[in-house]
């Protein structure tokens, strides 16, 4: 989007506006779908609109929102991070292990450990990707195996028990602030901060520039390697934070925590309008995508459709949204081209 501005100085404001309207239209569309599902399900069963039920939905979506935020930053640069599930798992386990050995430790330390573990994982992946120029799909796939393998070695047969986790820490998982569960509030706050940054800060806008055209970004003076590295560190840190929240929610964990999350997270981003080849998509969209996937899951249970339909519908939803996106982007390209030629005529 930034690139378009620079390339077409004649109509910068208009171009920007079209791009913004499009991304906002996507977010509004998902909100509408979420509301429709919510209302339809409530009509069927009034319990669905209960506060506890809504809180439950927020709690279920929270981890995926966090991971989707990090994934959006990475996807925006035309990279991908498949290691988020493993990183979440190792962070949750190490924090749990820390509590087992230091029962009276403070919560702040737990957060620092979790985020730190994630940041280390992310920076190793980011380092390999930027230095060796190996495609991130392969590096993060290898990291998925290696991190999970390390987790299996240190956590073989160990189950972190709820008794080892301090109650004050578990409270993050079930206590609420003004009716909103803390565990949901944290990802939402992160999403708002990152969304603002990705809209307004130069360094974050550069993520989109890199994704739109890596070599053009390089020529325009964007420190590509540093930005991509940062995106991976952010993604890893958020996965680490996800691990901390995982532990506070379930109060128990083992070596399998977070297995298979990576593809669901990417699916959330894709549904939320993040382009898989980089350059566009917002954090808010990705977060809404994660919420949508969760609400479908929960709605099915309530309207007595077998929950087995859950992933079949989710898959269909992914296919429909990306097809629809394609249609929209074709239209938008056409509109931009028409506008561009109009500007030249003037």
């Amino acid at each position: 989007m930034t690139m378009t501005e620079e390339l077409a100085p004649a109509t910068p404001v208009k171009t920007h506006r079209i791009a913004e309207t499009l991304s906002r239209a996507r977010e509004i569309a998902i909100v509408v779908i979420i509301l429709v599902i919510f209302l339809a399900t409530t009509l069927k069963s009034h319990d669905f609109a209960h506060l506890t039920s809504i809180q439950q939905m927020g709690t279920n979506a929270s981890l995926f929102i966090l991971l989707a935020i990090g994934e959006t930053m990475v996807l925006a640069t035309r990279n991908v991070d498949l290691s988020v599930g493993s990183t979440l798992g190792i962070s949750a386990f190490l924090v749990g292990d820390y509590f087992t050995h230091n029962p009276h430790s403070s919560i702040v330390v737990a957060f620092i450990i979790g985020i730190g573990v994630g940041a280390v994982c992310g920076s190793i992946i980011g380092f390999i990707v930027t230095v060796t120029k190996v495609p991130s799909l392969v590096v993060s796939l290898a990291a998925l195996y290696i991190i999970r393998g390390i987790l299996n070695i240190i956590g073989l047969g160990i189950q972190i028990e709820p008794t080892a986790i301090p109650l004050s820490f578990q409270k993050i998982g079930f206590e609420t602030f003004a009716g909103i569960p803390w565990i949901f509030l944290i990802p939402v706050l992160v999403a708002l901060v990152v969304a603002y940054a990705m809209r307004s800060y130069r360094s974050m806008r550069e993520l989109y520039a890199i994704g739109s055209n890596p070599s053009a970004a390089q020529l325009a003076g964007v420190p590509v390697a540093r930005r991509v590295f940062t995106a991976f560190v952010m993604s890893g840190s958020l996965a680490g934070l996800g691990g901390v929240l995982f532990l506070s929610e379930f109060a128990t964990t083992n070596a399998t925590a977070g297995t298979g999350y990576e593809l669901l997270v990417i699916a959330s981003c894709v549904i939320g309008g993040v382009a898989i080849f980089g350059g566009s998509g917002t954090v808010i969209g990705a977060a809404l995508g994660a919420i949508l996937l969760q609400i479908i899951n929960q709605a099915l249970v309530v309207i007595n459709v077998s929950p087995f339909w859950d992933s079949a519908l989710a898959g269909a939803l992914i296919l429909v949204t990306i097809s629809f996106d394609r249609l929209l982007s074709n239209r938008a390209t056409l509109a931009l081209r028409l506008k561009g030629s109009g500007a030249r005529d003037e």
Partner: protein, 360 residues
């Protein structure tokens, strides 16, 4: 992740140079050969390591179980290799295995004649593959997004069909294929099927015009299109074949385990992709050889078996697998990077030599 898109050629300058070199032919063949010899070395290391440290390593059981455990991944790796060579990817392979398993289990449970049930299952595979192919080639969507979608959907449909039921008791003459060796050899049927298919795929890929087209698409899709290659049709057919082959693997899985469950083979898709990449196939497309994939399958399959014999749990094996995968992409890349730097340096020094001689 610069998987080749419909609209944009590879961007990174290094990468463009890399593909130019490989068009030249000779350079590419040499570097490929080097990777394959590395795989052979790894295989020899495997055999020595296994032979010295594990008792009865060279017994028939080892070979049989290696074939059983690894054969299914190996067979799915073949169509995946062709798809990756065109610069696309198929992440729905293991979900198709599950869907096929569930379909077959359902039909069997409802007393459909076995042979007919098999045909219908393969039909489901064809439909699934065609759906992938249609969305990717006709609608023009990125394959990674499409196949994540169909992955979720296929697995979901499998769940809808079979629920948490487990169908067992298949029996019949087909059980042999799952649990016995090919008569007269120590090989599992799955491994034999893999070898036959690999030979077939290898001949098509390396000795026919279709195969050359597949490489051409992977190197430069637009150039391939303008030179008259039916890019969309070839890609569509590859996805179709992938669907059918994976459905077939689903049948094999059913007969190996004598159970049909919806979650059969969950998560194998990443193993399949990893084994292909370990065989030296470039994720950008356009580079790779069937021999590399076969060597990668055999080497990793045996290594896997060695570790299993030595009581390394399969979870811990994943760390070894990850490191191998990482090494397989970083080592050739650093080699190429080194040569690039050296060449650039040589060019610069010759340029300065030229300018200094002009000055003189």
């Amino acid at each position: 992740m610069v998987l080749v898109t419909n609209s944009s050629p590879p961007e990174a300058p290094e990468e463009t140079l890399g593909s130019l070199e490989s068009v030249g032919g000779r350079f590419d063949a040499r570097s490929l050969l080097r990777w394959e010899s590395a795989l052979v070395l790894f295989l020899i290391f495997d055999l020595f390591y296994g032979g010295f440290t594990a008792t009865d390593f060279f017994s028939q059981n080892t070979i049989f179980f290696a074939g059983i455990n690894f054969g299914l991944i190996a067979i799915m790796a073949l169509p995946e290799m062709l798809i990756i060579t065109t610069g696309e990817i198929d992440l729905s392979v293991a979900a198709m295995l599950g869907l096929s398993c569930a379909t077959f289990g359902y039909l069997f449970e409802h007393h459909v004649e076995v042979f007919l049930a098999m045909l219908l299952t393969l039909g489901v595979g064809a439909v699934g593959g065609a759906l992938n192919g249609f969305l990717i080639t006709r609608i023009g969507l990125p394959s990674i997004a499409v196949t994540i979608g169909t992955l979720t959907m296929f697995r979901g449909l499998a769940e809808v069909i079979l629920g948490t039921n487990e169908v067992t008791g298949f029996g019949g003459p087909w059980t042999d294929i799952g649990t016995n060796t090919i008569p007269g050899t120590p090989f599992a049927w799955a491994f034999g099927i893999f070898l036959v298919l690999a030979l077939l795929y290898g001949v098509v890929l390396h000795f026919t015009s279709v195969g050359r087209s597949i490489f051409a698409i992977g190197l430069q899709e637009e150039a391939a299109f303008f030179s008259g290659i039916r890019v969309k049709r070839i890609k569509f057919n590859l996805y179709l074949i992938s669907g059918i082959v994976c459905a077939f693997v689903g049948l094999l899985y059913t007969y190996q385990t004598n159970t049909a469950r919806y979650d059969a083979g969950t998560g194998l898709e990443l193993n399949v992709v990893a084994i292909v990449l370990f065989g030296g196939v470039s994720i950008f497309g356009g580079r790779g050889s069937m021999l590399g994939v076969v060597l990668s399958v055999v080497a990793v399959g045996i290594f896997d078996q060695v570790l299993t014999i030595k009581n390394v749990s399969s979870q811990e094996q994943s760390i070894v697998f990850g490191i191998l995968l990482l090494a397989s992409v970083i080592l050739p890349n650093t080699g190429r990077g080194y040569r690039l730097v050296r060449r650039r340096f040589a060019r610069e020094s010759s340029a300065t030599a030229l300018s200094s001689s002009v000055d003189a």
